[in-house]
């Protein structure tokens, strides 16, 4: 007469809940569902389960990356001893440490910031007409794009890495000052023929924002879109800062090891070889190159940007969205780099639509501009004009069409990943191959640098 073992499984199923309250007896023999410990359900990893919490898998990737690098570090330490050479790191940026053109270029960029600032000041008090202001801004922005190109191409001592960093800084500055000019123009248009009003509460209003301090805050803030009142975080969290700093330091060490692998391959790849060997080398290059890109992504878009944002108490930390889940190619391009995507939408695509350009033409224009900047940031530092970055961007169009037509869900996601893992090193291989061939030819002709 005493109650038998409940015999339910782990999860208290609905039928089991009533177990302790009802009378035991042969009634259960007619309805032995309380003996059950199984339910109709799918496995979590089946796509039909709809389950998607894989935070642990991300942690796994980080742990694996750290452990493999620890092993490589130990192996190198045992084989060669300590090899860290800070001079070598500096040599990546400058060939002659006493003549650092890249650093000078970055310092000179302040001139363009100040030109934009004083132009806006003049415009706000009416000293410059709108047309003259636009002319000054246009000249200023064009010089920002052309001046570093001239310097990088003419000064021999600029290394590819130093040149790329300098060009990157100038490109960012170009986008920022373009946004600054646009927003201030919108403010003037709104206040057109009205009396200026002072700030309400803590909010800054139009002419009040035209201070050097405000502009430099924007220049250093991790965003490309100017705004009069950025959202601010309440305080600087010291532990957050410290963690981001540690991430940046350890990423720099990790990327050093992957770099070695990436840099060593092309010397082999430059020799003649058949297709299967070519494919094998491409795959061998693909994985470290991809890991390097992922480390770069995390270090730059998460650690570094959050670090700067925390220091400046900049509130909007959306520097990327969930591009890792992208099931279509456009989703990836719209979500991996939010600052640039935001800028393109706000200052390029929407104004074009407003002027009556069709959606399709607008998208193509954004795409072409993006391809141009990719090419600009790669060709100029390497001092050779090759269409690979441009073609790589263009290849996204048929790829996007293919993925959208034929692949859904996890298969689409896998296709996007494969295009990232394989496509990128293909372009990189092309550039590095050409660069090595060019250098080799120059050296054998006796006109090589150094």
């Amino acid at each position: 007469s005493n109650c038998p073992a409940p015999a339910d499984g782990l999860a208290p199923s609905k039928t089991c809940h009533t177990f302790s309250t009802v009378n035991c007896g042969c009634i259960y023999s007619n309805n032995p569902s309380f003996l059950s410990c199984h339910r109709l359900q799918e496995s979590l990893l089946s796509s039909s389960s709809g389950y998607s919490n894989y935070r642990g898998v991300l942690n796994w990737c980080v742990v694996m990356l750290v452990l493999s690098n620890a092993r490589l570090f130990l192996e190198n330490l045992l084989k060669y001893g300590i090899l860290v050479d800070p001079i070598q790191v500096v040599a990546l940026f400058v060939k002659d440490p006493y003549n650092m053109p890249a650093v000078c270029l970055v310092i000179v960029s302040n001139v363009f910031v100040l030109v934009a600032f004083y132009t806006e000041r003049r415009l706000s008090v009416g000293c410059f007409s709108e047309h003259f202001g636009l002319l000054v801004h246009s000249i200023n922005l064009s010089v920002i794009l052309c001046f570093p190109v001239a310097v990088v191409l003419m000064v021999k001592s600029v290394t590819p890495v130093g040149g790329a960093v300098a060009l990157g800084v100038y490109t960012i500055l170009f986008l920022k000052l373009y946004s600054y000019k646009d927003v201030n123009k919108w403010c003037r248009e709104m206040c057109y023929a009205k009396a200026r009003s002072l700030g309400v509460g803590s909010q800054v209003t139009y002419p009040g924002n035209l201070t050097c301090r405000d502009l430099y805050y924007f220049v250093f803030a991790p965003t490309l879109c100017y705004e009069l009142n950025f959202p601010r975080s309440p305080k600087i969290r010291k532990s957050f800062l410290l963690r981001r700093l540690c991430e940046m330091v350890s990423s720099a060490r990790k990327s050093r090891f992957s770099q070695v692998e990436v840099v060593h391959v092309p010397t082999i790849a430059s020799k003649d070889m058949d297709l299967s060997r070519m494919v094998e080398h491409l795959l061998r290059l693909a994985v470290p190159n991809h890991l390097l890109w992922l480390i770069f992504f995390y270090t730059f878009f998460h650690s570094a940007m959050n670090f700067v944002a925390e220091l400046l108490q900049f509130g909007d930390r959306e520097f990327y969205r969930d591009w890792w889940n992208s099931e279509t190619v456009p989703y990836f391009w719209q979500n991996w780099n939010i600052p640039v995507h935001k800028w393109c939408l706000r200052h390029f695509y929407k104004p074009m639509l407003k002027r009556g350009v069709s959606k399709w033409a607008g998208q193509s224009a954004v795409f072409l501009a993006s391809a141009f900047f990719h090419e600009y940031l790669v060709s100029v530092p390497l001092k050779m004009l090759r269409p690979w970055a441009f073609l790589g961007m263009m290849a996204q169009l048929p790829l996007a069409w293919f993925v959208a037509c034929f692949l859904r869900g996890n298969y689409g996601n896998a296709a996007v990943w494969i295009s990232l893992i394989i496509g990128q090193p293909f372009a990189v291989l092309m550039y590095v191959h050409d660069y090595y061939v060019l250098q080799h030819r120059e050296e054998s002709a006796g006109v090589g640098p150094d």
Copy 2:
């Protein structure tokens, strides 16, 4: 007077929604929030964002695994040509293909299934008393555990892999028949002194379940807990079956390559060496060993079990839960192997609690039983008794305490991963090291097998 560019960012923020409906003018200069394109928010990868959808990262892992294996495959093909040798695969299981003791052992296991079946039949009609039935079952279950041990230890031609498979089959059978005996006993206890009732609708009731067909369905079903009426899936999906089959085939190929790496290391490791070299070898072994375990997990717990379940229209596909997110050690052990965990809870832990054993003692007993079976499945096939698997399980206790006390959230999760990646190969290294040393000694003494 016409409305200026909205200048909102991507996401239509709340203030932007009203833009097109209100009058434009200098009122915005007082309240220029519509110019804003930034919101106060955290980055997705920050743990404070609470975001956890990383399905894409899982796909990334799969793509990386496939690509690295494709590269390795191509490299091996280029170096050595096609090396697939089905005889070698068979040789893993049996040394003499015409004398397959492991296969015979598995076939013989049917005897024990039939003994359990006829005992239950007798018990149901009252031919056997409860006590005699329990005695027969106890003897049967003990023989199931001891008989294969005797065969594996005495028959020379059983290889370690063949022995492990046979012992695995017998262990599973032991757990299944224990559950069968328990559930039938519960049914009898419920119907004690009552008239037997026939099945209601499609549900099977107690003595009606005692058919050979029902028992063999349970023996082949991917669960260890017997139930009179398993939930059934409505139909066999052919595409699902095909996908699981492809996964199993490709996993088998993948694991072959990782195996090579795992097997090659211990031959080096068996020589004397200093601590830093030992750590380096451990780390070198850890990654392929861990990948092998992950491939095994996916192949066995997802592909194979789902394949069998689909064939048998077995409805409950919960073979694992989200152990990859486990932030504590117990959470991992409770969620990575649901069939065993379910069995332990239903047939071991809960009955003990019912008999008045304390919770703590019950948990320790489950833990000890688990450690015993780990040791049983490793020591016997290798024909050497070493405490490494047992100690490995026991080391989980201080680890669990440490993680629970000092680590939270993602750090706890990382600690669980590290214990998996490092702890497992440590035990494996111990066994393989001892096994090689033993074999080497036997061979040099001239008494080695073959």
